[in-house]
Amino acid sequence: MNNLIKGEKHDWEMVIGLEIHAQVKSNSKLFSSSSTKFGSSPNSQVSLVDAAMPGMLPVINKYCVEQAVKTGVGLNAKINNYSVFDRKNYFYADLPQGYQISQYKYPIVGEGKVTIDFKDGTSKDIRIVRLHLEQDAGKSLHDQNPSKTYVDLNRSGVALMEIVSEPDIRTPDEAGMYISKIRSILMYLDTCDGNMQEGSLRADVNISVRKPGDEYGTRCEIKNLNSIKFIKQAINYEAKRQIEILESGGSIEQNTMLFNTSTGKTRPMRNKEEAHDYRYFPDPDLLPLEISKEEIGKIKSSIPELPDELKNKFTETYKLSNYDASVLTAEKQTSDYFNETINSDPELKNYAKIVVNWITSELFSLLNKNNQDLNNSPVSPENLGQLIKLISTNEISGKIAKDVLEDMFSSGKTARQIVDEKGLQQVTDQGEIAKVIDEVIAENPKMVEQYLAGKDKLLGFFVGQAMKLTKGKANPKMLNDILKQKLNKKN
C-alpha cells in the first residue's frame, strides 16, 4: 500500500498520533455528585466543588475508576495498581479551579494496543501510550455577543478518559479507522456513549511530515475535533500546509492549531509568548489511587465479548472474511442483530455470508433511507432470518426478496405472511417454466434467429420476457437452464 503524498519536489509521509478524550458514561461527575446529563439548562448541574468554591474538597467517583480500568483492559493495556492525580495549571474562564485535575507521571493505565482492519484483508496495530483520568472543562460560547463570552459549567468536572496513541498512524484513513475502533471498543464496554456530536468523544491530532525513512519532523497539534470527517479534513489540510512550508525552504514551528469546520483550514491557536506552562504537581487534596489485584481481576471478569474476539469467532464459526467480520462487529448493535438473526434458525449458519449481505446492504440502506437505527428496526432479526430461509430454500428469488423486505419494513408483516398473501412463491415446476419459455420463443421468432446467429446477448431478453410472464417468480437458475436447452435444440 502506498501511503505517501506527492509534493512538488518529492514524496512525503505523514506521521500522526491521536489523543482521544472519552467522557465516562456515569451518573455523576469525577469528583462531585452533580449530574452529567447532556443538554440541561446552563449551570444547573454545578456543585460547589465544580465551581471551585473555597474549602471544597474533591471525592473520587468509584464507578469512574472502574470504567477506566475496564477500558484499559479493552485496549489490551497494562493496568497500574498505583496512580496519582496531579494539578495541570492554566487560566481560562471555563476552568473555575484554575487547574484541571489530571494524571501526569503515574496514569491509571499504561501501554496497550488496538488493531485496525483494512478492506484488503490486512490489519495493523496502533500502540497506545497510556490512558489517564481527568476532569472535563466547562463550555464557552464566544459568538453570542461581541464583547462577552458566556460560560456554562455543567460539563465542568465530568470524568474524561484521555487515550494517547503512539505516532503509528500514517494516513487520514488510518486515523479515522483508529478512532472508529476505539469508539467501538468503548461502546462494547459501555464505558462511554461514543456520541461525537454531543462531544462525548473528541480528539486532538498530532501531525508532522517527513521524507520516508527520515527522523520525525516537528509536529503541530490540532485541537478538539469532534467528527471523523473533520479529523480527516484537518489532517489533509495540515499535511499540505506543512509540506508547502518545507518545500519552499521554511521550517515548521511547533504549534497548537484550531480547525475551522466551515473553511476546512487550520490556524494557530495561541502565539509562542503565551506558550503554556502547566506546572504539574500532585494534587494535595487527593491521595494516590491504589487498586488491588483482586479489584482488577473482578473488573476483568465482568468484561463482555469485545469486537476483536467476536470478529475471530465470526471468521472461524461462519467462515466470514476478516473484513466482513470487522464490519459486522464495528457496532455492538450490528453484531447483536447478526447473532440473533443467525441463531433464529439452525439452517441459517450455512448461509452466514448471505445473512451479512442482507443486513449490511439491504437492511442498512432501508434504515438509512428512513432515517432509522438498527436498534428500532421495524424488521426483527427473526423476521429477517425467516426471509433469508425462504431464499435459501428457493421458495422465493433474491430479487423478489428485496421487494418482500421493503414490504416487511413498511407493514411490519412477516416474510411468510407477505409471500403467502401475494403468492410470491418461486415457480420451480419444470413443466410450468418450460411452458412459459415455449410461449416466449414462439412469440419472438426473429430474436431467436438473431440469437442463433451468434448474438448471445439476447439471452437476457428471453429471460426478461419469461420473468415478466411469471411476474418475476420463476426460479432464475432453472429458467436459464431450460431456456438455453430449448434455444440450443433449435440449432
Binding site: 456515569s26 451518573n27 455523576s28 455528585s33 452533580s34 449530574s35 452529567t36 439548562s41 446552563p42 449551570n43 444547573s44 448541574q45 454545578v46 456543585s47 465551581a51 471525592v59 473520587i60 467517583n61 468509584k62 464507578y63 469512574c64 475508576v65 496519582v84 495549571n89 487560566f91 481560562y92 474562564a93 464557552s140 460560547l141 464566544h142 455577543n145 461581541p146 464583547s147 462577552k148 463570552t149 458566556y150 460560560v151 456554562d152 459549567l153 484550531l258 491557536m269 495561541r270 506552562d277 506546572r279 500532585p282 494535595p284 487527593l286 491521595l287 494516590p288 489511587l289 491504589e290
Partner: protein, 95 residues
C-alpha cells in the same frame, strides 16, 4: 535556584497578580529566603527514595456513582458579577 526579576514577573503573570517594582523586590527577597531554607534538604541523600506525595497512610476515600438532582443555577450564579440567561458572562475570551 535563585529567583530573579524575570522569574518573579513570570510567576506574577501566571498568577494574574500585578506587582509594582517595590513589591517585586520584596517578593524576590522573600522567595529566595524560602528557597534557601528548603535547599538545606539537598544535604540529605535521597537516592533510591521514591518521592512522597502524601504523608497520610489512609487510602483514597471513594464515593458511589449517585447524582443529586438539585438545580444549582441560582445558587451558583449568585456571586457572578455579570450573567445572562443562566450563563456566566465574562469579558470576551478569544483564542
Amino acid at each position: 535556584m535563585k529567583i530573579d526579576k524575570n522569574t518573579i514577573n513570570k510567576i506574577a503573570r501566571l498568577s494574574r497578580i500585578k506587582l509594582d517594582d517595590k513589591e517585586s523586590e520584596d517578593y524576590i527577597k522573600d522567595l529566595n529566603s524560602i528557597l534557601d531554607w528548603v535547599e538545606q534538604l539537598n544535604e540529605v541523600n535521597t537516592e533510591n527514595v521514591e518521592p512522597l506525595s502524601n504523608i497520610s497512610s489512609s487510602i483514597l476515600p471513594k464515593r458511589e456513582d449517585v447524582s443529586n438532582d438539585t438545580n444549582s443555577s441560582e445558587e451558583i450564579l449568585e456571586n457572578a458579577p455579570d450573567k445572562l440567561e443562566g450563563f456566566f458572562a465574562v469579558p470576551k475570551v478569544v483564542e
